[in-house]
């Protein structure tokens, strides 16, 4: 079974530039999550999708971050414009059902450096 795929693996940008990350969850997984993990901290949930609907985006900085999950499969997370404090690893995860009851499978992450 293929795991969660993410791209790119690494990205370096200047502040105020835009960046987008892509995630392909495990086939059949209804729930998809985007997390931000700053070095030395635990993952912070940015947004959770159930199929193509948003379940929770309470911690998403909506003035600069946006995410979509078209057709309930792939998802993209965008930052526009980026700030220095956005430097982090962005993890995508998926689960068969609603996440608080189900194991989450994580992708390898995208390491973003904002200069």
């Amino acid at each position: 079974e293929a795991g969660v795929a993410q791209s790119p693996r690494y990205k370096i940008i200047e502040k105020r530039q835009s960046v987008a990350f892509w995630c392909n969850p495990i086939s059949g997984h209804a729930t998809l999550y985007w997390y931000q993990q700053i070095l030395g901290q635990g993952p912070k949930l940015l947004i959770q999708f159930q199929n193509n609907g948003v379940v929770d985006d309470s911690q998403l900085p909506k003035d600069r971050f946006s995410a979509e999950r078209l057709k309930g499969v792939d998802s993209t997370l965008k930052i526009q414009p980026a700030k220095l404090e956005d430097s982090a690893v962005y993890l995508c995860a998926s689960s068969l059902g609603q996440g608080t009851y189900n194991e989450q499978f994580f992708g390898p992450g995208t390491r973003l450096t904002v200069l």
Partner: protein
């Protein structure tokens, strides 16, 4: 609403035991445990869904005390492969589907 873990860091010799605690200020209905090795993604260990439930996974087990809003992860006869950062993740009654990872515990097993 982020759960607090203790200790922050622990160093063990192979074969020793460890306990990692996870405490929430909110009423919990689920607790997950994940291990993350340096530079890698978190890997699922187990999930506990009921108050007072206990689960085991090889030499790693966990308990969940719903009344105390706490969970503990027990690692017995530790192996070098147990090294990594352990995170609990919690689902709370008050916040519906929201899920929060804990502050993390760094565990290092030395020969």
């Amino acid at each position: 609403q982020q759960p607090v873990q203790s200790p922050q860091a622990v160093i063990l010799r192979e074969g020793e035991d460890a306990v990692i605690n996870c405490s929430s200020s909110k009423a919990l209905y689920s607790v997950h445990w994940y291990r993350q090795k340096h530079g890698e993604a978190p890997v699922f260990l187990m999930i506990l869904l009921k108050g007072g439930e206990q689960k085991g996974h090889e030499k790693i087990s966990a308990s969940f005390n719903e009344k105390k809003q706490q969970s503990s992860l027990y690692l017995t006869a530790s192996q070098l492969s147990y090294s990594g950062t352990y995170f609990c993740g919690t689902g709370t009654y008050n916040t519906g589907n929201q899920f929060y990872f804990g502050t993390g515990t760094s565990l290092t097993v030395i020969p």
